[in-house]
């Protein structure tokens, strides 16, 4: 009985640590995606032809490739990137955590860019024209008038994207990130397979809890930043 108690305690701590790692990985990836997506979306809307084309390629590649493939490219692929040039010794060895965040973050940036772009397009051109006719420069008008509103409009899309990244985070177990799935597997192995659903169901529920929490946080953000008269249709 003591063993059982100890076992439960250690498992709970392990899963707790895993949950923390899940949260950190998710948030870091989302932030990276955000930071990349802002210039991408602006470039795609206002940039010249070559820039638009390049961004289109970027978006097309990272939206068209599954996360798992991207992850493997960043982690395993780069370690052997030398093979492409005939120099097998040449490596770009990225540690697991940065590789995971890079993979998830860059993929997310491609999706977030789309979200921002459709929001930017939804802000009428007249607003931009009005800003310019007040004497604002091009970039000033874009950033302070158009993009600020576009961010507001993007909140539903971002809410969705956040939950997607959260639900994609378990693939990082493949590169030994100690998030929840890794911990769960560890517990199952150490108990010699005698527990399975007992571990995975609570873990699933924690993911679900994080999912609900994330939605709630974005809802609150939406409330705080409401522009009267511009509420978006929810649900």
């Amino acid at each position: 009985m003591e063993d059982l108690g100890q076992f439960l305690l250690y498992s709970a701590i392990a899963v707790g640590k895993g949950a923390l790692v899940t949260i950190v990985v998710t948030v870091a990836s989302l932030l990276l995606g955000f930071v990349l997506a802002v210039p991408l979306s602006i470039g795609r809307t206002y940039g010249n032809r070559p820039i638009q084309f390049l961004i289109q390629l970027y978006e097309g590649f990272f939206r068209g490739t599954p996360h798992i493939v991207t992850l493997f490219i960043f982690y395993f692929g780069l370690r052997h990137v030398g093979e492409l040039f005939g120099n097998p010794a040449f490596q770009i060895a990225i540690p697991p955590f940065p590789a995971a965040v890079l993979a998830l973050g860059i993929t997310s940036s491609a999706y977030q860019s789309l979200i921002f772009r459709s929001s930017i397009q939804a802000i009428s051109r007249d607003q931009y024209n009005a800003a310019r006719s007040l004497g604002m420069g091009r970039w000033q008008a874009i950033l302070t008038i158009v993009f600020v509103q576009a961010l507001r409009l993007s909140i539903p899309g971002l809410t969705n994207e956040a939950t997607i990244v959260l639900k994609d985070s378990p693939i990082t177990y493949l590169v030994a990130i100690p998030e929840m799935l890794t911990q769960a597997r560890g517990i199952i192995d150490s108990a010699m397979g005698k527990v399975f659903f007992e571990v995975l169901i609570p873990v699933s529920l924690i993911y679900f809890g994080l999912f609900v929490l994330s939605n709630k946080l974005f809802e609150m953000l939406d409330e705080k930043l409401k522009i009267p008269g511009f509420e978006l249709e929810r649900r």
Partner: protein
């Protein structure tokens, strides 16, 4: 790189077949399962409604990876004693179908909600019953409005079949990993596979644009983001 591609093409092709199989079966079965579930979700109350809601919320709120994991490694605990084995194929099919159904229910719900309430009133005022209204007026429009979201789902599903790797389902990603380590040519293999997925996504995207064109209700063009 090109000769390498030719060399591994057969195995990749084999994996690709399964990727496509999982995608289309998941999508189609998911669709037919989702329609009645969606109608329940929209128009009924009580017990059935609660079950469907719980199912949809849970599946959409938890990672597909975990779902696949539980099905492949967990189901046997119940089924093995009954003499039923769970192969990677089966687990993959079950997982993708259950997952896609839940998402499609949500997307269809959005499609149906876009129909103005007045049309329901108009149908009633002609004397149509509840079910007549649902099948004659709501379903034809609701499904058509759902097409953009559903075609997105198709593309997502295609990419998520790569998770079949985790349960050793013989799709494209699994092949990629084996080939990469067998030939010790990681970067090339993964890049090739990435481009295959990108290409497939592109083709599917074009196809669904065409279907959308054909089935559109005149006057209701969906917003296109270019």
């Amino acid at each position: 790189m090109f000769e390498y591609f030719l060399e591994i093409a057969p195995q990749l092709g084999y994996g690709l077949l399964f990727t496509l199989l999982f995608t289309f079966v998941g999508m189609v079965v998911g669709f037919f399962a989702a329609v009645p579930l969606c109608l329940i979700r929209l128009y009924s109350h009580g017990f059935l409604y609660k079950i469907v809601t719980v199912y949809v919320e849970l599946v959409r709120g938890t990672p597909l990876l975990i779902q696949l994991y539980m099905i492949y490694y967990g189901l046997p605990k119940f089924l093995l004693p009954l003499g039923i084995t769970v192969t990677p194929y089966t687990a993959a099919f079950i997982g993708f179908i259950l997952n896609s159904t839940a998402y499609q229910v949500e997307y269809m719900k959005g499609g149906f909600k876009a129909i103005s309430y007045e049309q329901i009133e108009a149908a009633y005022s002609l004397g149509m019953s509840r079910w007549e209204t649902i099948f004659t007026i709501l379903v034809p429009q609701g499904l058509r409005f759902s097409i953009p979201a559903l075609s997105n789902e198709l593309i997502y599903l295609l990419k998520y079949t790569s998770l079949g790797f985790v349960i050793q389902a013989p799709e494209l990603m699994t092949q990629a990993k084996h080939l990469a380590s067998t030939h010790a040519r990681y970067m090339e293999t993964y890049l090739i596979v990435a481009f295959i997925y990108v290409g497939l996504t592109f083709i599917l995207s074009k196809m669904s644009d065409m279907i959308d064109e054909k089935l559109r209700i005149p006057g209701f063009a969906p917003e296109k983001i270019r």
